[in-house]
Homo-oligomer: 362 residues x 2
């Protein structure tokens, strides 16, 4: 463990109180003693404890973050961004993953409370807010990110997910597609709302909604590409076959695209695909993936700033809700090039990718 | 902040010492008082502080982790794995990213020391171990992961990166390729050693080494796909053009592949590509990426276990060095299918991907 005041005191045959007084510039210490202590601190490169400083003010200088999956690039980018904001104010970020397991999340929440984090930031995988109410009861300031709960007042930084679902689905309808499948997630607000947006867009265009084109996942994000593939395999069996698919997140879309290609079908000619999240490398997948971008960096920054505002506040502060704006990023997976729109019927085996097809983003 | 002993004491008009004695089952507290305190603890759902418990034993129950880039899937998987090991023993993981910036890493190290983490785990982006020596001087137990330093004794969990470079290059040579480019990283042990392995494999097969086929990055991992693309753009101008490329990590390989495809060339027919790390979704990229897999989960588990063994130990323990075994994962980017080996000369514009080409892994 690091050099402590105690070590310096023992080295010099002084009391910890004396050493502490020197460190805090008390005037009742003689010049010779002060000199000895400061010299020894320098020799040992003594670093004052943030804990000791924090505890005096009732703070631990730690913010807790619980995400469903740290390896999902969406959440690691958010974590990175929160960390960047906190570090500038000397706060550390304790990170835990719930693996999209509500039970594990509850246990991590308990640990964070016992760890006395100054603020707790959670992208919750619970389907109801019961365990989050306990956080509030324990007077631990709480910031929800990405996922919220109806009827549960809390600080929240996320996006309008109904709008995300609408944007994605409207885009597919705009391509002339009419049999649009949806691959949804577990029952958290993001996937619930994106599904609602999908339904809203269909209704707006008077396209009949059919439940057989909706496949929702029951498992968590961690295996989203696997379950996305399985969901698409099911959708490919529905008759008539869908000509487009909106996947609630990008990992699911990757799996869905792999299923389509494995079935010998073309993207986007046979089935256009769009995801949500616009994760790193989305442009480098087998077919460059269209997505609804959700600005992770801004989301993390807002969450970090709210957390900083709440540290050390004993009384509840007015809750804040901040929504970052999603934006459509169109790539090859939902872009029908002019060539293929005007071309004569093509041989069945024509591969799905043209090497130099341009990308468009806006 | 969470409910504290102090709050309970104030509520009941008792001293904190009394409340603490009840909590710790001291016998010198009357039954009535004990009853009142325990009831109030239950009502408020009091969670004992891990800090308070830890401080008594000189520990903070926190392990620090500094990685170069949290969003690079390799490091987020390692972090996840370390966290899984620590959580079972009640330890938390404080994570910081250095953004591959040695200066920022030094500042994060200082913060971690001031935070009194029980152990510090670092994948360092320094080119010399000076700032890590300071960690040792401060008596903070240290575990290096992924990247090590010659002549600096420290616990280390990583892989034999010379072997990684050899395996990758041997594989390309085995495909019959003879003009093999290398895209390297900054001067840390992983990229230094992978380059050494590349040279060793060439020497073993008596293939002349030419510096013009080696492009090393000077920037960090964060923009590895961008710099991988730029490096490949440079290699494509070299005459004769390389027929294969070994990239020191997968993000660089993604960028390199994008540059090759943008130039209208085919992977692997014109240029075979292999990366290292085998990051998540490597199989879903524009061309499924061959890579040398480095078992992240095992690496993180070993690091977490060593960290646990060192917590609370004041005297230095014998340092340990654990190497996880890399393994070759061959996918489309370096696999010439039988069809294309036996086929007649193909039209220049033939796209690089066959939809149903099988993947092989071993």
């Amino acid at each position: 463990m690091a050099v402590r005041m105690k070590d310096i005191a023992e080295d010099l045959g002084l009391s910890v109180v004396t050493v502490s007084k020197v460190f805090n510039n008390h005037l009742d210490i003689g010049a010779a003693t002060r000199e000895r202590v400061l010299r020894r601190m320098k020799e040992l490169n003594y670093q004052p404890s943030l804990h000791a400083q924090g505890l005096a003010s009732g703070r631990t200088m730690m913010v807790g973050l619980i995400v469903p999956d740290l390896v999902h690039a969406f959440f690691s980018e958010v974590a990175q961004s929160i960390s960047d904001v906190l570090r500038k104010k000397g706060y550390g970020l304790v990170i835990a993953s719930s693996d999209e397991d509500p039970e594990l999340e509850r246990s991590e929440i308990e640990q964070m409370i016992r760890r006395r984090v100054d603020v707790l930031i959670i992208a919750s995988c619970q389907s109801d807010p019961a365990s989050l109410k306990k956080v509030v009861e324990q007077k631990v300031p709480l910031v929800l990110i990405d996922r919220s709960f109806k009827g549960f007042e809390a600080n929240f930084v996320g996006t309008d997910d109904v709008h995300v679902g609408e944007m994605a689905t409207e885009h597919l309808i705009g391509l002339g597609r009419r049999i649009i499948g949806h691959i949804g997630g577990q029952t958290v607000s993001t996937s619930n709302d994106r599904l609602a947006g999908y339904k809203k867009a269909l209704a707006h265009h008077k396209i009949a909604l059919s439940e057989k084109y909706i496949v929702r996942r029951t498992l968590g994000d961690q295996a989203a590409d696997t379950t996305g593939r399985e969901a698409m395999e099911r959708l490919l069996l529905v008759s008539p076959r869908p000509d487009a698919g909106f996947c609630y997140n990008d990992p699911a879309a990757i799996g869905a695209m792999n299923a389509i290609l494995a079935a010998g079908l073309r993207i986007p000619e046979d089935i256009a695909i769009i995801g949500a999240g616009n994760i790193r490398y989305a442009e480098s997948f087998r077919v460059a993936l269209s997505s609804v971008d959700i600005p992770r960096k801004a989301l993390g920054e807002y969450a970090g700033e709210i957390a900083l505002q709440m540290t050390g506040k004993k009384k509840p502060v007015k809750t804040r809700k901040i929504l970052v704006s999603p934006k459509l990023v169109i790539r090859e997976s939902s872009q029908v090039s002019k060539v293929s729109l005007t071309a004569a019927p093509r041989p069945k085996k024509r591969p799905s990718k043209a090497v130099a097809r341009p990308k468009t983003e806006w």
